[in-house]
């Protein structure tokens, strides 16, 4: 533990990190500050995770706390429920979101309702991390975005960072949260950019959207890796003197609709962008709320720019599947046509 403490002091400063490094930093910080934090997953130990998110952690914190598991996703979903009920804060990793489905049973039937069904006697402060999304030319089943399935489950939080600093702050918040959190990491931007991250243990709120660009003409709502294309779209629109406001949802559940409504009440126009298939995607929930409480602000139809309702194609066609800046711009221009 002495070694860990030294390391902690050393790393208390600011560093330019990629998102995957920021995830690792947050995990290290959590392991350091709270001895009930336990990491588990496939290949997270000596290998440091297939994306290196846990690189070096087994050396610093030992194989008891950074545990390679057998290849058993249902178990990886369920064992943490037992650990959490007994006072630990497990952070489990599913290697790719395409392999997360066997975990859903444990999340719906146990993790998300342990507090409710025992009237608070038992709680489940576990975090389930998984890289998700397309665009890295990964093999079949490695590129899906199924956040909407989780956002429908009562009792859960669903969090998706879009930058290194938000990854750090949101993951720390997720680990400290007293209830179960699904933390989905947009792997396409794991190494896309570096950002200054202050390793001071500062968490970000888990019930707030982030307005990442101010603008008065149209609201662009997105999360995760699609923030990149959305920012690009905003830049193209700026060339036409259109000022886009961009909201990074970050925490899908519970949804901070107030921030989105405030923006749309100003712009009257909204384009929602996500990578997951359109139908039943989480964009539907946001658009539905705009059709409800937000209706009177809308001057134009709500557009959703999303993945097609198709199976995520293999790498050759994945570029044609994912929303592009051009598609976002085109949607924005359509909604701007309304007076």
């Amino acid at each position: 533990m002495a070694k860990a403490r030294t390391k902690s002091e050393a790393s208390a400063g600011t560093a330019d990190l990629t998102m995957v490094e920021a995830v690792g930093q947050a995990l290290a910080r959590a392991l350091e500050e709270d001895e009930t934090v336990i990491l588990l997953g496939e290949d997270i130990g000596v290998d440091g995770g297939v994306f290196r998110a846990t690189d070096g952690l087994i050396t610093r914190f030992g194989a008891d706390r950074v545990r390679d598991t057998p290849l058993s996703e249902a178990m990886i979903g369920g064992l943490p429920v037992g650990l959490a009920a007994m006072g630990f804060r497990p952070v489990a990793e599913i290697q790719f979101m395409g392999f997360i489905y066997p975990v859903i049973d444990q999340i719906v039937n146990h993790a998300a309702r342990l507090r409710t069904r025992t009237r608070g006697r038992m709680t489940c402060p576990m975090v389930l991390r998984a890289p998700y999304g397309g665009g890295i030319h990964a093999p079949e089943h490695h590129s899906e975005s199924m956040e909407a399935m989780f956002a429908h489950i009562p009792g859960l939080r669903v969090v998706i960072p879009s930058s290194p600093a938000r990854a750090y702050g949101l993951l720390l918040a997720a680990i400290r949260d007293p209830d179960p959190v699904i933390f989905l990491e947009p792997k396409r931007i794991y190494r896309a950019a570096r950002e200054a991250v202050v390793d001071n243990g500062g968490a970000l709120p888990l019930d707030r959207c982030f307005t990442v660009l101010k603008g008065a003409d149209v609201t662009l709502v997105t999360w995760g890796a699609m923030l990149k294309e959305t920012l690009e779209a905003a830049e193209i629109l700026a060339g036409d003197s259109v000022e886009a406001e961009i909201v990074d949802v970050a925490t899908l559940k519970p949804l901070d609709m107030d921030t989105i409504l405030a923006s749309v009440s100003k712009t009257g126009r909204c384009v929602i962008v996500h990578e997951a298939p359109l139908t039943g995607g989480f964009g539907a929930e946001i658009a539905a709320r705009l059709a409800g409480e937000g209706l009177m602000h809308l001057v134009a139809p709500v557009e959703r720019v999303a993945g097609w309702d198709t199976v995520m194609p293999l790498l050759r066609l994945e570029g044609r599947y994912m929303p592009s800046a051009e598609r976002i711009v085109a949607a924005a221009r359509r909604v701007l046509e309304y007076a």
Binding site: M75, G78, R115, R119
Partner: protein, 354 residues
């Protein structure tokens, strides 16, 4: 060709169906009081079961899964545990929960459709009933890992049915428990039926105990209608787990004498003759015969015990029926430690509807 591994599945029994000693009597079972205690728990469990079924039949309880015939598995297993161990029951182990200190009122609340029933005043670390078959097995591995990491002597005891042994998550949980030498005891409560599916249709494995072979640890069979054998096998498995030697799977052979639940009609799929045969093996009469023969158990004692159990059950049922209703907003109040704004608005909307 060479043989690279070999395995044997042992079966133990102390009392035969007629209550005669067939195996070796373990030390604890030489004590009359100890046996009477086990006997009383079994009688109480059966009385509770009967009352719960009666309450359901008269519309005062929800669907209920009676454990009649399986009292020895529940009582024997739970009685072997220390207070610091953790029980992870399935949904038919009322007897085990009672022995652990869950009150009958709590059990009735739960089966009566009130979540407060799972907020046990007694064994606060014990898990609530698990309805999705076998899904609690990974929790047992998790709890056991917690004990191991904290270097505590506690053991997780996970009970599930014969049907549950076909579930992948039970296998995954056993496998990781083996791989990590976790302090957990798995008990397969083999009552021969999973609703209408008889045990041989569930798996081609000759025994359920041998499911442990796949996970790399010991599996054994015990006569599940012999509370002495169950208690002893559990004690040994607990000791082994506590001393760092990992998990055990105990297959307890018993029989579901009743319907699957109060909404089931077992006569649709099994004949009375089979049930009748198994009545001759049931655990309460068996221990009573032994107590009578070996320890001079008296008719008066029997009557007093039955009357006391009946009174306890009636008391519990009365306080259950008298419990004040839970406010509906309770469904929001334990969802998260702090209710998010979004859900808080729904809570208000629900209350505004009154």
């Amino acid at each position: 060709m060479s043989i690279v591994a070999s395995f044997e599945i042992a079966h133990t029994r102390v009392l035969g169906p007629d209550g005669k000693v067939e195996g070796e009597l373990p030390p604890f079972a030489r004590d009359r009081d100890a046996l009477v205690a086990l006997y009383r728990w079994m009688v109480l469990t059966r009385a509770f079961d009967a009352k719960a079924v009666a309450l359901q039949r008269t519309g005062r309880l929800g669907t209920y899964a009676s454990g009649i015939g399986q009292e020895a598995v529940c009582v024997g297993a739970a009685h072997a545990m220390t207070p610091d161990d953790v029980l992870l029951p399935s949904f038919r182990e009322h007897g085990a929960q009672l022995v652990r200190g869950v009150t009958m009122q709590e059990l009735l609340l739960y089966w009566g459709g009130d979540e407060r029933g799972s907020d046990f005043a007694g064994p606060r670390q014990d898990f609530p009933v698990c309805i999705p078959v076998g899904t609690h097995a990974p929790h047992a591995a998790g709890a056991a890992l917690a004990f191991k990491l904290r270097d505590e002597p506690s053991v997780a005891v996970c009970i599930f049915g014969d049907g549950a042994t076909s579930r992948g998550d039970v296998y995954e949980a056993m496998n990781v428990a083996g791989a990590w030498t976790l302090p957990v005891v798995f008990i397969a409560n083999n009552n021969q039926w999973a609703i209408s599916v008889p045990r041989p249709a569930q798996t081609a494995a000759e025994t359920l105990a041998q499911k442990a072979v796949a996970a790399g640890f010991e599996g054994l069979q015990v006569d599940g209608n012999d509370v002495i054998a169950v208690r002893q096998a559990t004690t040994e498995a607990l000791d082994k787990a506590r001393s760092g030697n990992g998990p055990t799977l105990i297959e307890a052979l018993t029989y579901r004498l009743g319907d699957h639940t109060t909404v089931d009609d077992a006569s649709r799929y099994r004949d009375d003759e089979e049930v009748g045969r198994h009545w001759k093996e049931e655990p309460i009469a068996r221990l009573r015969s032994y107590l009578t023969a070996a320890h001079g158990w008296q008719k008066a004692e029997e009557e007093a015990l039955i009357a006391a159990c009946a009174a306890e059950v009636e008391d519990a049922a009365e306080s259950y029926l008298a419990a004040s209703p839970e406010p509906p907003e309770a469904m929001f109040d334990y969802l998260y430690e702090e209710l998010p704004a979004d859900a808080a608005r729904q809570r208000a909307a629900m209350l505004a509807q009154e």
